[in-house]
């Protein structure tokens, strides 16, 4: 069995993995990026639509173009990309982490590194996860799989489509399927508001005249061998209106019902997972409960913009590099998701410096106020003209606001939306 040794190992070569790896290279540290697919880029490679990089590059790129910019940078450094290679196990051995990786060319590699950055991305929630009853014919796909089939493999999975869930991938696929000549009959969403970005509702549904059924539950899938239709039931005041159910004939159902960070490897290694994000609990340095193991990108919590992914990943890489240089975090303050907030990531802040926080609201609201309390004292209030669960909120807190925590023991920072 082959052995390899690096200062740092990055698991996953998507946007997050590449951005984190570049930080190690910039500091002269040796680093490997392990990626299961043949090329780097991750999910970006199948997102051929525009809309990436507005913050990062100040222009609108397609997913592959965005990935290419990072890949070029990676190629110019001493980073070792190990593509077509899957990490199957991670263990801690003394000061080192040992990753078992497998590829057809090299067999099993025991890759040793002092620091590890997790950047495995996420997977799509599927039919079983949301328990749609009915038969199990061919023609039910997750939207991401359909996207892969159409954009990369060149196949059309079906002609008459109903999309369940109004997540971004589903919206993008509604437009994509229309472009390739399919009829998209409906997008069905259980919640009273869409779960994708507003711009996608406009550009992908409204522009194509695709109806969006909000507050509707998919109560059945019909068809013995291939999908023949779906049954949709309105929800009124929280109750299913079964007598108002109706059937939409179709041969294909695409599911866009959310993403789940892919943390089975992490769990097996002993990393603690936050049930609100399905990603690891991390401290102010994006480090998990295992010293030297960091996390960023969609494996930490699901992001809607790749620009935020790379921003977070850069910080994870930089923190890991500092950790390798012997720097250990100072005092940290626990962060709590207060009223109307689903989660805040990371779960700790360091009062001695600037902290970037990502959070998601539980509510749709106009003229909302984001309120930050330290030990029950308001330290910041931010006006937001509109908040909704599908759009992540960013917040930077600095020394000025967190000063009081430096002296008080057991401080708690609570963030809420009023």
């Amino acid at each position: 069995m082959k052995e390899m040794r690096f200062d740092a190992a990055v698991v996953g070569g998507g946007a997050a993995g590449m951005a984190a790896a570049l930080e190690f290279a910039a500091r002269g540290l040796t680093c490997a990026v392990i990626e299961r697919e043949e090329q780097l880029g991750g999910i970006l490679m199948q997102c051929i639509h525009n809309g990436f990089g507005l913050i990062e590059f100040n222009e609108e790129l397609s997913g592959p173009e965005f990935a290419e910019r990072f890949e070029e940078k990676v190629r110019k450094t001493a980073i070792t990309p190990l593509c077509s290679t899957t990490v199957i196990e991670m263990e801690v051995e003394g000061e080192e982490k040992v990753l078992s990786c497998v590829s057809s060319g090299l067999g099993v590699i025991r890759l040793r590194a002092k620091a590890v950055v997790l950047a495995m991305g996420c997977r799509e929630r599927n039919r079983g996860n949301i328990r749609i009853p009915g038969s199990r014919p061919a023609g039910v796909y997750t939207a991401g799989l359909a996207q892969r089939l159409v954009n990369i493999e060149g196949y059309v999975p079906g002609k008459d489509v109903v999309i369940i869930g109004s997540g971004d991938i589903g919206l993008i696929m509604a437009r994509r399927m229309s472009w390739v000549g399919c009829k998209v009959h409906a997008v069905v969403e259980i919640l009273p508001y869409p779960s994708g970005l507003t711009r996608n509702i406009v550009q992908c549904l409204n522009d194509f005249g695709i109806p969006l059924y909000l507050s509707h539950l998919t109560t059945n899938i019909y068809g013995k061998d291939r999908v023949e239709g779906v049954e949709i039931t309105p929800i009124e005041n929280g109750a299913l209106m079964l007598e108002k159910s109706f059937k939409i004939p179709c041969d294909t159902v695409l599911l866009s019902v959310g993403l789940v960070p892919e943390n089975e490897l992490s769990k097996n290694m002993g990393i603690e997972i936050n049930p609100m994000t399905n990603g690891p609990y991390v401290d102010a340095c994006l480090m998990t409960n295992i010293p030297g193991v960091f996390a960023c990108g969609n494996v930490l919590h699901v992001h809607d913009l790749v620009d935020f992914v790379v921003e977070e990943a850069r910080r994870a890489g930089a923190f890991a590099a500092e950790w390798l240089a012997g720097k250990r975090g100072g005092k940290e303050v626990r962060v709590k998701a207060g009223p109307n907030v689903r989660y805040v990531s990371p779960s700790k802040v360091a009062p001695a410096r600037d902290n970037k926080l990502y959070l998601r609201t539980l509510v749709v609201k106009n003229d909302a106020v984001l309120e930050v309390k330290l030990n029950n004292k308001i330290v910041r209030q931010v006006k937001k003209s509109h908040v909704q669960p599908s759009e992540m909120i960013t917040l930077t807190l600095g020394q000025a606001e967190l000063e009081a925590a430096a002296s008080a023991p057991d401080s708690v920072l609570e963030i809420s939306i009023q």
Binding site: M1, G105, V108, N126, G154, T219
Partner: protein
């Protein structure tokens, strides 16, 4: 037999676990045997969607044929596993009483088990139950333990049986839906819906839910098989509720109740329900039934959580009367009925193979043992069962073991190719053989890779690939 000949000594209709065991048993003799199946692959009927339990021998009275065959069949599994390389484990069975009133039926089951000669069967106190199964609810008041009960992956069992039967000369014809039959002299001519036909001296009707139709096609007994649906939930292998043994509730008069089953492959099954349905192809799951399952599973094991659900499915029990109906037809010559094979059909199936072989002998079939019968199938190494060292060695011999196709169940390209070479060319066939698409993402990541491998290995076009045979095409166009 001359290759390509369409004349056989025995034709078996239906490649479920009954037909497969009969075929494999007959493959040990100098006979020309054909196994015909209407679906695209074997085990696509009731034998693919059931609880997968090798029962403990205490549920039924020995006056029933099904109980006698269950007891005999259950004992044959260890040997079969050694020969046929399918997942099977004797993890033991507990029956949990959740109320004092349920201790009487427990006692009756115990007495029945003792009468049936079940080895090691034990009446248990509450403490003993919680020791055997710490995940059980605190409300458990006692129960029963049958250490010999086990779990099996039913489709893998059927795949191996059929593969071994084929290795020993049995011919398999899939997509062959028996429609009509005629007796001409000493032979049956059996016609399929697609126009193909075969001839056979003896015919075995092991057509599961449709054994009634097949019986009528042969002018044999007129009976009706009804379907009783059982719905299930499958839970992720990371679930915290996985018990060490199969956990049964106290049975009711119609079914053995809803169970919590630790599958051999590490996932957890909960179910099944029991509802009569009219349509014998109706495998739809329903909201109400699925809610019932969660409730009753939680009653026994409180940590069962719906967030662990990865999929749901249903199976249909072929219900006819109280017992199996296995005997030579009284109306049609050289025609053996193997019908009404409801639970414990899977457990009993190896014994059904023996029993039918003996019936055929009584009916005049000459059985001469083959000198070169080979009881083994070639084992497929599975990446997920290997240590990193073993996997490394394997990749050196076959690099396709280094390509992980299904990340959730850790299935490599080599295993997919092996499935295809052994005749499983539908997405479901590959799923049952390899477990790819069976894990938590349910094929979200690997389906496109599998499609490409099928096309490469078989030369099939994109429009020929199906989920499980005719009508279930996967792709509808090319750009």
């Amino acid at each position: 037999m001359k290759p390509g000949s369409d004349s056989f000594d025995v034709a078996i209709v239906g490649a479920g676990v009954s037909g497969a065991n009969i075929a494999r048993r007959l493959s040990a003799y100098e006979l020309d045997v054909v196994l015909v199946e209407k679906e695209a692959d074997v085990s696509f009927g009731t034998s693919k969607a059931n609880s997968g339990i090798v029962h403990g021998g205490f549920h039924h009275n020995k006056k029933y044929l099904k109980a006698r065959l269950e007891l005999q069949g259950a004992m044959m599994f260890d040997r079969l596993k050694a020969e046929l390389d399918f997942p099977f484990e004797r993890c033991g069975i507990v029956v949990a009483a959740m109320h004092e009133d349920e201790m009487r039926p427990i006692e009756q089951l115990y007495m029945q088990g003792v009468e049936n000669g079940v080895i090691g069967i034990e009446m248990c106190s509450r403490e003993r139950m919680l020791e055997l199964e710490p995940k059980l609810s605190e409300d458990c008041v006692g129960g029963l333990y049958a250490p010999g009960g086990g779990i099996v992956e039913p489709y893998r069992f059927v795949f191996s049986l059929v593969e071994n039967a084929q290795k020993n000369g049995v011919r398999l014809m899939t997509g062959f839906a028996v429609e009509s039959a005629k007796r001409e002299g000493e032979r049956w001519t059996v016609k399929a819906a697609d126009g193909r036909s075969i001839k056979a001296r003896y015919v075995v009707n092991a057509a599961g839910l449709f054994a009634d139709e097949v019986s009528r096609a042969f002018g044999a007994e007129d009976f009706a098989i009804h379907a009783r649906k059982g719905e299930y939930y499958l839970l992720d292998r990371m679930t915290k509720c996985k018990p060490a043994r199969v956990v049964f509730p106290v049975p009711t008069s119609v079914s053995k109740g809803m169970l919590v089953i630790p599958t051999v492959e590490g996932t957890v099954l909960i179910g099944p329900t029991a509802t009569a349905v009219q349509d014998k192809t109706d495998l739809a799951t329903t909201r109400e039934e699925l809610d019932t399952i969660l409730k009753s599973a939680r009653n026994m094991i409180p940590s069962v959580s719906e967030t662990d659900v990865i999929t749901s499915f249903a199976g249909l029990r072929p219900f006819m009367e109280e017992d199996f109906y296995i005997e030579p037809s009284k109306k049609a010559p050289a025609f053996i009925q193997v019908a009404g094979i409801q639970s414990p059909g899977l457990t009993a199936s190896p014994a059904i193979g023996e029993y039918v072989k003996d019936l055929l002998k009584k009916e005049g079939l000459k059985l001469v043992e083959k000198a070169d019968w080979d009881p083994f199938v070639r084992k497929v190494p599975r990446a997920k069962d290997l240590s990193p060292y073993e996997l490394d060695e394997l990749v050196k011999k076959d690099p396709a073991y280094g390509e992980i196709v299904c990340r959730c169940e850790r299935v490599t390209e080599a295993e997919i190719v092996e499935a295809i070479r052994r005749g499983h060319v539908t997405l479901d066939g590959i799923k049952y053989f390899t477990r790819a698409q069976m894990g938590r993402c349910q094929g979200g990541f690997c389906t496109y890779k599998i499609l490409k491998i099928i096309m490469r290995e078989t030369g099939m076009g994109w429009d020929e690939i199906t989920k499980r045979g005719e009508g279930s095409s996967v792709l509808r166009g090319e750009l």
